[in-house]
């Protein structure tokens, strides 16, 4: 879950080390136009870092565009790292969700990661999401409303987490199935409806309506 993928080679060893210090497992993506590292597994990473200095094919902006358009990677926070001389050239400064200028410290990287994740998901670095009186602690799997714990099953929790961390976007049932359930299910898209109903029941009247049914499309989380 805490994989970080690194694109580009300039300073990649140092960046890998800093990411590992912050608890990520870094994977380098080959510079042959692929989007995924050879050893990265099938799940989307928690973070992508593009080392833009010296990056030519594909270019930084092309990489960002392809990441954003990818079905599975579109939600990955992207940090673009530039050499200090690169700022004046302007290449890449408007790309990604957050910008870093080399050389950078582990503390700065951590702060930039938190900002990038917040930009994408609306989550702060402590992994606690608050929506009104609803509080979701992503580190401990706990959900509380007005400070009182609400007990979810694992899949209910995973569904709620996905929706809460991707606010205001509509997801089809199929998209929710593949991104929340993975392939460990049978029962088709109705599984999603059934779980949404259970999650709404547990959320209670104040928060149930935050999971909007978008007719003949899917579901959307409103809030944050």
């Amino acid at each position: 879950m805490t994989d970080a993928w690194i694109y580009g080679s300039h300073g990649s060893e140092r960046t890998s080390r800093l990411l590992a210090e912050l608890g990520f497992s870094p994977h380098r993506v080959a510079a042959n136009g692929t989007l995924r590292p050879p050893d990265g597994g099938s799940r989307a990473p928690a973070l992508a870092v593009i080392l833009a200095d010296g990056l030519e094919q594909p270019s930084c902006s092309e990489l960002c565009a392809r990441l954003a358009a990818d079905d599975d990677l579109g939600e990955v926070p992207v940090i673009v790292a530039l050499a200090s001389g690169g700022l004046a050239e302007g290449v890449g400064i408007t790309e990604g969700h957050e910008l870093l200028v080399e050389p950078f410290s582990a503390d700065e990287l951590q702060a930039r990661i938190a900002r990038a994740r917040r930009a994408v998901n609306g989550i702060d670095h402590e992994d606690v999401v608050r929506v009104g009186s609803l509080e979701m602690n992503l580190a401990t799997y706990q959900v509380a409303i007005e400070g009182r714990p609400v007990d979810f099953t694992y899949m209910e929790y995973e569904l709620l987490k996905f929706l809460v961390t991707h606010p205001r976007r509509v997801f089809s049932r199929e998209a929710l199935l593949s991104r929340v359930w993975g392939y460990d299910y049978y029962g088709g898209a109705r599984t999603v409806d059934v779980h949404v109903r259970r999650v709404r029941a547990k959320l209670g009247s104040e928060h149930a309506a935050r999971i909007k049914t978008v007719r003949s499309v899917g579901y959307r989380w409103e809030g944050t």
Binding site: P149, T191, R198
Partner: protein, 434 residues
């Protein structure tokens, strides 16, 4: 450790859970539980927990038989009704020590049948209307229960024990992830109905099992007693558990049709399969001697193997199609009562329906105005039903010999016990006359 197991371990730690109840059901669908302290949880998740498999065999226990119960972390749920000491539950898969399936586990049996159906591209969805009674505190064993109200069908009784109780029950159910579609006062005094929203068959069987204990807990907290006994009051209708059945191929309701028939050809063949095997499966849908007292008195309790769109007395009702509501195409089976083993019932309904599809069964004509029109009658009592079940090739193929034999042994024992009992009927009928 997968994410699910980490979720369980972390939640136990964060919520201060003291004990975990590992749930399984016996051959009669009665809930059994083994409690483990938190310190044993991690090893239980990995290695399972040993227990005596004869505890799954009901009253016809033969000899001890070691089996291993593996808790299913997907079913981990903190129980809402033990607020002072936090307790959670998980349903278990029961397996042989060599990791083979244990033939006496009806939950695993349902799961196996569902996997077979999934292999054919089908999943079954089930909705459920559960009726039950809530009485005042029970007197000595055998004494008649006391009703708590004189309410009737859909009555909104004043704020009495009944409505307090329904509200509390629904809160518990929702906290357990069992969404309630509706609830109302039923026809008889002290009788209630709660409708559970449709879900897949295994989740529904788990939900019904959970439902029964949640209802009993909620009643107990209010000083009352809830019962799922099919026919507790002679003068009033009994409690049924109507099942709403539909079959999906991917996201398409395989029962839906745009034609004039109420069901698609697949739906008609499935229903034909259920009807063709209804008599031999009655021992499971109505598994107690008392179940047949409900069926005997009519009043929405079916007596014949028939189907209808409108009548009140047929075994199966097919609701009218609603335009634009393809997902809602289904049929309603009305014989089961809420004291059945829901795992076995759903496994057998699905197997019967699939057999109807595979072999192209023809659906019999619709019954009009509740006339059976030559439709066969359902078994009159548990003895007839047990004999039919014992000879059922479908039941043996679906459930396996072990589950069938243990079930039949339980039923024969129950019948023998009754045969030797002098009842209120005997005394009223014969004491003065003879």
């Amino acid at each position: 450790m997968t994410g699910r197991e980490q979720f369980v371990l972390r939640t136990v730690e964060e919520r201060g859970v003291r004990f975990i109840r590992l749930w399984f059901v016996d051959v009669l669908g009665l809930l059994k539980s083994i409690s483990i302290p938190v310190s044993e949880l991690e090893s239980a998740l990995v290695d399972g927990v040993g227990l005596d498999g004869s505890s799954l065999e009901g009253a016809a226990r033969l000899r001890e038989h070691d089996v291993i119960a593996y808790p299913d972390p997907r079913t981990f749920q903190v129980l809402p009704w033990k607020p002072d000491s936090i307790v959670a539950r998980m349903f278990c898969d029961v397996r042989e020590p060599d990791d083979g399936p244990f033939g006496g586990d009806s939950r695993a049996t349902l799961r196996r049948v569902l996997e077979q159906a999934a292999g054919l591209g089908y999943t079954m969805q089930v909705g459920c209307e559960v009726e039950f009674f809530i009485f005042g505190p029970l007197g000595s064993n055998g004494a008649a229960p006391t009703t708590l109200d004189d309410g009737a069908y859909f009555d909104l009784t004043p704020l009495d024990v009944g409505s307090d109780f329904r509200r509390r029950t629904i809160e518990y159910l929702e906290q357990m992830g069992i969404p309630v579609k509706a609830s109302h006062h039923e026809v008889a005094p002290s009788q209630h109905e709660i409708q559970l929203a449709h879900t897949d068959a295994l989740s529904m069987a788990d939900a019904v099992t959970t439902f029964r204990i949640a209802v009993k807990e909620a009643a107990h907290e209010l000083g009352a007693y809830a019962t799922f006994m099919p026919k507790p009051l002679a003068a009033h209708p009994g409690s049924g558990m109507h099942l709403h059945i539909s079959l999906f191929e991917g996201d398409r309701n395989a029962f839906h049709t745009d034609g004039t028939e109420p069901l698609s050809p697949t739906g008609r063949a499935f229903l034909a399969g259920v009807l063709a095997h209804a008599r031999e499966l009655t021992a499971v849908t109505n598994q107690w001697i008392n179940s047949y007292r409900r069926l005997a008195t009519g009043f929405e309790a079916p007596a014949f193997v028939s189907w209808t769109r409108r009548g009140g007395a047929a075994l199966v009702r097919v609701p009218s199609r609603r335009p634009g509501r393809a997902a809602g195409a289904r049929f309603e089976l009305r014989s089961p009562d809420p004291s059945c083993n829901t795992y076995m019932v759903l496994a057998l309904i699905l197997a019967a329906g699939l057999r109807g599809i595979e072999r192209g069964y023809e659906l019999q004509a619709e019954s009009i105005d509740d006339q059976p029109n030559g439709a066969p009658r359902l078994p009159l009592d548990l003895r007839e039903a047990t004999d039919l079940f014992d000879d059922s090739e479908l039941a043996r193929e679906t459930l396996g010999d072990r589950l069938c034999d243990v079930f039949v042994a339980n039923k024969r024992r129950e019948l023998d016990d009754e045969r030797r009992t002098v009842t209120e009927f005997d005394r009223i009928r014969y004491l003065r006359l003879l």
